[in-house]
Amino acid sequence: MRNDDWKKVSRLVSKKSLWMVHFCTGCGAMEMPPVMTSRYDMERFGIAPMATPRQADVLLITGYLSIKTLKRVVQVYEQMRDPKYVIGFGSCTINGGMYWDSYNTIKDLSKYIPVDLYIAGCMPRPEAIMDAFLKLMEMIEKGEAIGWKKYHKYYDQYKRNQRMAFSYRLDEVQDIKEDDAK
């Protein structure tokens, strides 16, 4: 079997087993229990919650992220193993949504970690979540869910943005350089 074929088979099978990190970053987590239970039952598609990032493949950013949570999210994302996927949940991850003028929530998630897929809405309905998972599976099969590759490729840029956000200052990058000079 050629390497490409092998990769294709691997993707075809792996997409049916998406384990997500048990991390409720925001209010979007409220619609996760219904998705897991009798009416929607996402375990049908092999999706299951996992306790720790080491075991998981999918990181759901369920809603707005405060800077304090962003630090944890980055930590969790980096502890996950490739291939890993991120789904941004709700309007808040796209442009801040409801909290567009809040001083403590990030406005665009893709500046800090690569996002494979967004779900619009506040809050997204369970059907939308299921749809997103199915879409993600499709993307995985086609090899389009390459957020983790992007993170490796543009690691410096992501890190720079994260550093800025963590310090609530734009000049953080310069600060570090000055510190190094000293």
């Binding site: 991390f23 720790t52 990032p53 080491r54 630090k71 944890r72 999210v73 980055v74 930590q75 969790v76 502890q79």
Partner: protein, 617 residues
């Protein structure tokens, strides 16, 4: 050559005492002297039916000796039983000294002198063919152990050892006297015991006196204190080697002198004499209680001490059951215990040597820093837990089979559950000391310590592959007692219940390991630092230090259940003993000045009195 050997060893004692300020030279002298028993061992290999190449047996030792010492005589001779136990002692002893050569720095001369004296004493005990010689050497050994305990300087250890040591001596002496009045001789060969009550009492007293050294409950109290407050090489030899002398004595008196038919004449229960049954029950209780107590210890040495108590209980069970299967199992267990416990105590010593800590809760993460120590300890722990990839399993298996064969309904589950309990404390050592959060940036142990440990691991590997060899060694001993050796080949031991084939286990394991190795090497991996750990998402860089070692009070739920029963019991036992000791030795209390010189003078005086009494009598 035997007398010369004693002479040389005594000479070496004086020499090392003189070389107190040159520990390395003293160690070299002691190690050279310690090889004498080893040469004696190889020279006597013939009586076990083993023929060794001559370069392994450079010295020729006579197989028996009667030596007139003024009014008394020393009756010495080698027997298969003596040879077997000499094998345990003579091989572990030089290695303990080798370990000590880098470990002991403080007053080294005294250490080596004491060690050589204990070996001299036990050499004599193993060869003794009459009660008085036995007692003389036994006391030499006991008192030199006391000298070593005194070096530790712990009051509890000294008091408990002194009280139990004198109890043991007293019991032995009374037992011997009673046997003498009954039979009119001290010679083992001439003792023809009858079924009278006096014999029973005498025999019980002797076995009880020996059980003190074998740390059988409830006579074990001294052991944890002594084991945890003395230098490690000595403790390794004490727990590994010297404690076996008690069981040597039991085998000698119960099966060599009294014999199975005599024991059975006082009543039997399902073909097992009441005498043996009682010993087996005590042994099972010891195995269980020792294990439970070991689980609850935080001090590494105390844990190992209680573990010793527990493991020695298995030997007592085997001796108690007294079938060929059980005796082979007991001998096998004695052999295993000698080596794995020595390795564990030495590994503990090596850990202490590098970190200066004894408490399990204060250690941690040494597995990556001291990998070879860790691997030796790991192997020894596997042997201790009787994992079937070491020789430890075969011994326990023999004992289980023997117990089932004799339908020991209540003893067998206790033995088995004590075996499971061993996993608990075994993992406590592994996790608390070698795994978990790396807290110390230390080097690997010195080469001499590593060599000592790994040479002691060797027998565990050899007898894993060839458990039949132990059965071979046991065969002459069993035939002396008029028993049939158990059916075996080098790899397979067969009982009338089942068979155990080590080759099948090893090959299956290798195959399975190979498959899983391929599976495991399939994908690449990267090694991450300890800090990159699951902290529920908390970034570690936000914290200066995150304490992640859970070893303190590790088995708390277990202790909540068993603690109230056992700890209180142990405390009360200790109180009673202390009270008794203080009551008995109220006058002697003033003698405890705490100065080592004084104690040495007492010991010397005692020796003079002992020797004088023996010469004049």
């Amino acid at each position: 050559m035997i007398l010369e050997a004693f002479g040389v060893m005594l000479l070496a004692v004086i020499v090392v005492l003189a070389l107190d300020r040159y520990p390395r030279i003293a160690a070299a002298v002691a190690i050279i002297a310690s090889l004498l028993p080893l040469f004696a061992l190889t020279s006597w290999a013939g009586i076990m039916g083993i023929s060794l190449p001559s370069f392994l047996a450079p010295l020729e030792f006579e197989s028996s000796l009667v030596y007139n010492l003024g009014p008394g005589t020393l009756n010495l001779a080698i027997t298969p039983l003596g040879w077997f136990f000499l094998l345990l002692l003579a091989t572990s002893f030089p290695l303990a000294l080798l370990f000590a050569s880098s470990f002991v720095r403080n007053r080294a001369g005294g250490f080596y002198a004491g060690m050589l004296l204990t070996m001299l004493g036990s050499f004599g005990v193993l060869l003794a063919r009459d009660a008085l010689t036995f007692f003389l050497f036994w006391e030499i050994m006991s008192w030199s152990i006391l000298a070593m305990v005194l070096r530790g300087g712990d009051r509890r250890a000294i008091v408990s050892y002194l009280s139990f040591g004198s109890l043991s001596a007293m019991l032995l002496l009374f037992g011997f006297m009673m046997l003498y009045f009954k039979t009119g001789t001290f010679l083992f060969g001439d003792m023809h015991l009858d079924t009278s009550l006096t014999t029973l009492v005498a025999l019980s007293m002797i076995v009880a006196g020996l059980a003190v050294k074998g740390a059988l409950m409830p006579l074990h109290v001294w052991a944890p204190h002594v084991y945890s407050r003395s230098e490690e090489p000595f403790v390794a030899f004490l727990s590994g080697g010297l404690s076996k002398l008690g069981y040597f004595g039991m085998l000698l008196f119960m099966y060599g002198i009294a014999g199975l038919s005599l024991l059975s004449s006082w009543g039997t229960f399902r073909d097992v004499s009441y005498f043996g049954y009682a010993l087996a029950v005590i042994g099972a209780f010891t195995a269980f209680a020792g294990t439970v107590l070991a689980v609850m210890q935080d001090d590494l040495r105390k844990l190992l001490a209680y573990s010793s108590v527990g493991q020695l209980g298995y030997i007592a069970i085997g001796i108690g059951i007294g079938t060929p299967l059980a005796l082979t199992g007991a001998l096998f267990q004695a052999l295993n215990h000698t080596f794995f416990k020595a390795v564990l105590f030495l590994a503990a010593g090596a850990v202490y040597y590098r970190t200066g800590k004894w408490k399990i809760s204060e250690l941690g993460g040494l597995g990556y820093r001291m990998p070879f120590t860790f691997l030796a300890a790991l192997f020894a722990i596997f042997a201790l837990a009787a994992i079937p990839i070491t020789s430890g399993f075969a011994a326990k298996w023999l004992l289980y089979e023997a117990a089932i064969e004799k339908k020991f309904l209540f003893v067998t589950p206790i033995m088995l559950i004590a075996g499971v309990g061993a996993f608990l404390y075994a993992y406590k050592i592994l996790y608390g000391v070698f795994l978990g959060e790396p807290r110390y940036d230390v080097k690997e142990a010195p080469i001499s310590q590593l060599v000592a440990m790994w040479l002691l691991v060797l027998p565990l590997v050899i007898f894993l592959i060839f458990p039949g060899w132990v059965a071979d060694l046991a065969a002459p001993i069993l035939s002396e007692y008029g028993m049939q050796p158990i059916p075996h080949t080098p790899y397979v031991i067969t009982t009338n219940l089942a068979a155990y084939n080590t080759l099948a286990v090893i090959f299956a394991l290798m195959g399975a390991l190979l498959v899983s190795l391929i599976l495991y090497k399939w994908k690449p991996q990267e090694v991450v630092p300890h800090e990159d750990n699951y902290l529920a998402g908390e970034p570690p860089e936000l914290y200066e230090y995150i304490s992640m070692h859970a070893a303190s009070n590790y088995y708390e739920p277990f202790e909540d259940v068993f603690g109230p029963v056992f700890r209180r019991g142990a405390e009360r036992a200790w109180e009673i003993i202390l009270a008794a000791a203080e009551f008995l030795g109220n006058g002697a209390r003033r003698l405890y000045t705490g100065l080592t010189q004084d104690y040495s003078i007492y010991i010397l005086l005692f020796f003079l009195i002992l020797v004088g009494w023996w010469l004049l009598w």
